[in-house]
Amino acid sequence: MSSTTTHSSFRNSTSRSRRLSIPSLETVAAWLLAVIWIFPLLYAFWAAFHPSEFMVRFELFAPLTLDNFVNAWSQAPFGRYYLNTFALVTGVVLAQFVVCTLAAFAFARFPIPGKNLLFMLVLIQLFVFPEVLIVENYRIASELGLINTITGIGLPYVASAFGIFLLRQTFKTIPRELEDAARIEGCSWLEILWKVYVPLAKPTYLAYGLVSISHHWNNFLWPLVVTNSVSSRPLTVGLGVFSAPETGVNWATVSAATLLSIAPLLIAFLLFQRQFVQSFLRAGIR
């Protein structure tokens, strides 16, 4: 017992005083809050898998159905939306990796004049994001001919201050000796970056990648502004257009559509909970 308690008592130290009552008031409160918190999502599942007359009639043996999903899929081009979101998320994350890696490497290792000032300038983007500047970004995107393209949705996010910041932090912790060893073997700068820095920063890439995937899977305002047809709309915008109350779509169908658009991310989250939570933490503590 004693050898394992060091770690578990570290996490459970607060519980020591309430072992007496079972279940304690605190346990009940925690569970009650958990039920309230998950209820909306469970309700969406209920509504999506039952005929619409059971929306507010909770009967244990209400008939299950997949009709709502079939309806949603046939009433709006969700297949295309999936494809668009998938292309968007992949493209953005890959482009962010490349652009942010190069910039972070420069900030971490190169003697650029006025580097600190430049870095502060980069950090401004942590506060001035593309969605705040929708009006001007829309103008710039249209001048570049990027309206209604997936590139147009993603490009403003590619030079991410957040990514540059995270990778720079990581690169700075990598000992110079490793770099020197690679240089003696005749590696060029890009080879050093690729063979020394990038492999050692894998956990950062994973964390940043997961955060970025979730962000762009869920992003709405800028994609809404910059797209105007099915050919480039991502899932969120497609769902928004489909389920706008004034369209009068049946609610059971809307909940099926909602579940359709959150399913991949939700499943990924349930499978890799720990990685997701740790990524958000890692990315958040800056």
Partner: protein, 294 residues
């Protein structure tokens, strides 16, 4: 020789920065500057050049009751969401940090809303709030109460939007508190147990002060979200009824893309940028003094 090598390094570094610099210039710095410029001009009609009007657009904006209503909404929205979600997040973290039966499930329940898109969350809450068939009114009806027009009544609508935002946000802040709680040395608790300190005073005298950097960090994030996230309005209320739930960024969107009034949109955007500048100053002065960079 050494000098040229140094210069070469400088050149190389600049080249590495170039892609990020070009993109940041195109989608962050340039648009910021042109937004400020646009807020100082009136567009010329029929190809006439824009006319410089100084701060006239701001005076016009500040004379507009609708703008103040929206700004006030946003303030209420921030005051309604931020303390509530921070308190809930802290409570959740304390729950989940303890020895709770089914801790993993509870933690998952708290965190799951975080990974949903705001649009999906709004859709789900629409089922609750809708006047006739919504779940809340059905339940109220079953209990013999008359229904509330959750999103249609100007005095209730903003509150309904706030409740949904708190639900969406609290679990995200929880994980930061949880990480911080696990970093508090257990000896502190043991020592206070020996002295017979109550849990209540232990929390306020030890835990809460130790969590201060986390609270500040979460506060900054919550402030940014209160300005930045308006997605749910597109589904729930469209800023209505009669602008009762309109927020600044949504108002920018309306001005630019519904009323085609780019000048007003630019002027409001500058106001938002100023608010964000205050938040940024807060972060770089107060928060960064307390955080350690490894």
């Amino acid at each position: 020789m050494a000098l040229t090598a140094h210069h070469k390094m400088q050149m190389y570094g600049a080249l590495l920065l170039l892609p990020a610099a070009v993109l940041l210039a195109a989608f962050a710095y340039l648009p910021t500057i042109t937004t400020v410029i646009n807020s100082l001009f009136l567009p010329g009609f029929r190809g006439a050049p824009p006319e410089f009007v100084g701060l006239e657009n701001y005076r016009f904006l500040f004379d507009d009751a609708k703008f103040w209503k929206v700004a006030r909404n946003n303030l209420i929205y921030a005051l309604g969401t931020i303390p509530t979600s921070i308190a809930l997040a802290l409570g959740m973290a304390l729950f989940v940090n303890g020895k709770l039966p089914g801790r993993g499930l509870v933690r998952m329940a708290y965190f799951t809303p975080t990974i949903l898109p705001m649009i999906a969350a709004a859709n789900i809450w629409m089922f609750f709030y809708a006047p006739q068939i919504g779940l809340f009114n059905k339940l109220l009806g079953a209990l013999g109460f008359s229904g509330v027009n959750w999103l249609g009544d100007p005095s209730v609508a903003l509150g309904s939007v706030i409740v949904m935002s708190v639900w969406k946000e609290a679990g995200f802040f929880m994980i930061f508190y949880l990480a911080a709680l696990q970093g508090i040395p257990p000896e502190l608790k043991e020592a206070s147990d020996l002295e017979g300190t109550s849990r209540w005073s232990f929390f306020w005298r030890v835990t809460f002060p130790l969590l201060m950097p986390t609270t500040l960090f979460v506060l900054i994030n919550a402030l940014i979200n209160a300005v930045r996230v308006v997605d749910h309005l597109f589904i729930l209320t469209k800023g209505g009824p009669n602008n009762a739930t309109n927020l600044l960024l949504y108002y920018v969107y309306e001005n630019a893309f519904s009323f085609f009034d780019r000048t007003t949109a630019a002027t409001i955007t500058v106001v938002i940028l100023l608010v964000l500048a205050v938040v940024a100053t807060l972060k770089f002065t107060i928060l960064d003094r307390r955080t350690h960079y490894q």
